[in-house]
């Protein structure tokens, strides 16, 4: 882009806008699980794990890690009482 253009703060080249829009739209397109579904999965995981171990529900997180070829559910579940239950 020309020096004068930058000085006058004209719009960036359209291809830059295209690139940004594409990157944003693809993050969304590649998303496999809706937030609602994710919440349901999280709630059910909490219920199941809680049957066996005392966990910190507020700080439990279930997230989706995704690339184009893969999706992973990652559950981060802090255990409250690390000692074994008998």
């Amino acid at each position: 882009m020309g020096f004068l253009d930058r000085l006058l703060r004209r719009a960036p080249p359209s291809k830059e806008i295209a690139k940004e829009r594409l990157q944003l739209v693809l993050v969304h397109d590649r998303q496999p699980l809706s937030p609602e579904l994710l919440q349901m999965i999280k709630d059910e995981i909490i219920v199941v794990i809680s049957k066996h171990v005392d966990i910190d529900r507020e700080n439990t997180e279930v997230t989706v890690s995704r690339g184009r070829g893969y999706q992973k559910l990652i559950a981060d579940i802090p255990i409250r009482n690390p000692r074994r239950r008998y």
Partner: protein, 265 residues
Amino acid sequence: MTARVMTITSGKGGVGKTTGVANLGVSLALEGNRVVVLDADIGLRNLDVVMGLENRIVYDIVDVVEGRCRLQQALIRDKRLPELHLLPAAQTRDKTAVSPEQMVRLCEKLRQNCDFVLIDSPAGIEQGFQNAIAGADEIVIMTTPDVAAVRDADRIIGLIEAADKGTPKLIINRIKPDMVRRGDMLTTEDVIEILAIELIGIVPEDETIIISTNRGIPVALDGQSKSGLAFRNIAQRVMGKDVPFMTIDLEPSLLRRVIRLVGRR
């Protein structure tokens, strides 16, 4: 030794798959390979017309699959390149006339007697696309450097990987160097950064493609055409040779940047 079966697909329509298949087929045949190009766009056939073979069609892929003729009867030999054959699509049926399983069996038969089977996929993600990739060993995505095509290409790549067909390769078509220089068209680097798959070719926008399609002569046969050269280069790379990419969309050189800074455009 059986053939490599390669499908060219895109998601988006109109990016140049059919032209690409025709010209890649011609280019591979020019290198001495035995090639079959297969039109999987049943109901909207175009590979025949792009290759200039539309007057020679007697039987088509649906006739073969439904047993009305032998495969050999449906294959049309290109008189310009005797090792190049076309299996045309049907024009009066639709994508449901053939199943993915039938395509797999067809490809198995075809691959016994040639070096390459190139399949022209229809646009879309429905059965036509599924048919086109079913029998493929390798898949190539064709895209143009614009938002809609790249978005669709990304979706298609995801579907291909989910179908366990491996990671496809990429051709970027219809590049306009002037627009790239002005910053009005995505560069090759931009597209690769977004799609993150291996590039096997770039092809410039070229009026001679329209003219040669008017005549029914694939542009790869034209020694003067830049896009023809681009397709021939792709064929070389497909054959494993290391061919540098044409410099059709250079980022501005340092000198030009300096000239711009000084105020001249």
